[in-house]
């Protein structure tokens, strides 16, 4: 058995002495991921990293109890699992190909990925205009009334409008108003972001997972 295999085996034993979610278990599992990563089987396929992620999920959930050191080293065990996942992905892709237009086409003898061949173009989103309109309107007058102590001109409305799309640099705002970046950004986080967060929630601008 190689020195690495021995080390991995000890880390697994150490991890499994502690309950799931405990720091010593997490630390040892993390060390195994770090050490095994360069030893993982590699394939140049689009779903390779998905298979690796599934392998780590399986490893972290099932190493304690399911791994038998008599039957092989930790990298061997994980590579066997990884190859099965790659096979699953390959089969799923092939089944897909039967029922759907192939995602890869050949053009002038060159394989072209149809999806990647579509140029990604930014979708103009009117949301920033909605945010700007909301801040300008300041229906309750709250945004204008909230300001940094002693600086009525440095109010929430002004900061939201100037920081929209990160257009004005913190440094420039600090120079312009003679207020330090820590004071400006702290006010922005506590007052402006709180209200922007609530605006986003109330308008349903929260992405799903």
């Amino acid at each position: 058995m190689s020195e690495l295999d021995q080390q991995l085996r000890e880390l697994v034993i150490a991890a499994c002495k502690h309950p799931p979610g405990s720091a010593p278990r997490q630390r040892n599992l993390t060390r195994v991921i770090r050490l095994v990563s360069p030893k993982l089987w590699h394939e140049n396929v689009p779903y390779y990293q998905d298979a690796v992620q599934q392998t780590w999920v399986y490893f972290c959930r099932h190493i304690c109890g399911n791994y038998n050191p008599e039957l092989g080293s930790v990298p061997t065990w994980l590579n066997a699992f990884l190859k099965f996942r790659l096979l699953d992905f390959r089969n799923a892709t092939q089944n897909d190909a039967i029922t759907r237009v192939p995602s890869q086409i050949e053009r002038d003898g060159e394989v072209i990925d149809r999806i990647e061949a579509i140029p990604a173009k930014p979708v103009a989103d009117p949301l920033w205009e909605a945010v700007e309109a909301w801040a300008r309107a300041d229906v309750t007058g709250e945004l204008k009334s909230l300001h940094i102590k002693g600086h009525p001109e440095v109010n929430a409305q002004m900061l939201i409008l100037r920081r929209l799309l990160s257009e004005t640099k913190w440094k420039d705002l600090a120079d312009e108003f003679g207020v330090g970046i820590p004071a400006l950004s702290s006010f922005y986080q506590r007052q402006c972001m709180l209200r922007l967060r609530n605006f986003g929630k109330s308008e349903g601008y929260i992405d799903s997972n």
Binding site: P122, S186, Q189, Y205, I206
Partner: protein
């Protein structure tokens, strides 16, 4: 420094769904600068989210500002809400960068800052490490602490210091409870050099414990030795965190059994460590208290 980042960087996958989500969020941005910022931030947040799932640390994307479309437009945020603890900022860097940008709008309301290197060509990320606090716009990557210390940091936040009484008579017999590690495990090699740590009598195996002072990780080391007259000689040291000095104003006190301060010293920000030496007899009780601002951490001892 202790280890280099290359030693502790943790490789993690960038899956297809991570790439798709990042591209989708990026495409909502109205200019190329925001597009790239949002894309990289989203990649970093999702890589960390997946890692925390592996570690069975629950985190919520939808409770994070990075998942709020309004805040993505108005701030450079890459936060991930760790359930029950708070927002962990996940900052992206590209390969070969030596520093990481930390936007001012992320300087407060964070439980820590994780730096994620994104190698998109290889579809892999490296969790480079973390710092508990940030107060400047640039963070040098060689200041990062290891991913394992991130795990300890999160655990310490979830379970504030257990105040178990440490029984020093049992220590002398060799029975030291599991919440104590050794000085060697908690300090870096520079701090362990004979010139610094062992000017006194402490050794690499001295029982030690990390103390979390609002994100500053100091180390308490305790050495107990029996004396000929049945009394016990105890040396207490408070070492600074791996990346610097004890914060100015850190108080290191010894309290008697009714909680009155008997000995107290305050860090000026330049000491290699703070130290007290006390002599006790069997049955004596005392406590060590470490305080910074409003945070007080107490460890009780019995002989």
């Amino acid at each position: 420094m202790t280890q280099s980042i290359d030693d502790f960087a943790l490789p993690l996958p960038i899956t297809q769904i991570i790439r798709q989500t990042a591209q989708e969020f990026a495409n909502q941005q109205p200019n190329p600068q925001k597009l790239e910022q949002v894309r990289l931030n989203t990649l970093a947040v999702l890589v960390v989210h997946n890692y925390l799932q592996l570690m069975e640390i629950p985190s919520s994307l939808t409770a994070s500002d990075s998942w709020n479309r309004v805040l993505r437009l108005c701030a450079d945020v890459a936060d991930l809400q760790v359930l029950g603890l708070g927002r962990l900022e996940c900052r992206p860097v590209l390969p070969n960068q030596t520093l990481c940008r930390v936007p001012p709008e992320t300087w407060s309301d964070r439980i820590g800052y994780v730096v994620v290197e994104l190698d998109e060509a290889a579809e892999t990320a490296q969790l480079l490490g973390f710092v508990p606090r940030a107060t400047t716009e640039t963070l040098l990557l060689n200041q990062l602490r290891s991913p394992e210390e991130l795990l300890d940091h999160l655990a310490a936040l979830r379970h504030p210091q257990p105040s178990l009484v440490a029984n020093l008579s049992q220590w002398i017999q060799g029975a030291i409870d599991e919440s104590w590690q050794t000085l060697e495990e908690l300090l870096n090699p520079a701090q362990l050099s004979p010139a610094i740590a062992f000017r006194g009598r402490l050794g690499t195996q001295t029982p030690s414990k990390r103390i979390d002072l609002n994100g500053v990780a100091a180390v308490l080391a305790v050495d107990a030795r029996p004396l000929a007259d049945e009394s016990t000689d105890i040396c207490l040291q408070l070492h600074p965190p791996i990346d610097g000095f004890l914060p100015i104003g850190t108080r290191f006190s010894v309290l008697n059994e009714v909680g009155e301060v008997e000995l107290e010293t305050t860090a000026t920000g330049t000491e290699d460590f703070l130290e007290w030496q006390v002599e006790c007899t069997s049955g004596d009780r005392f406590s060590v208290q470490v305080s910074l601002n409003e945070v007080h951490i107490t460890q009780d001892f019995i002989i």
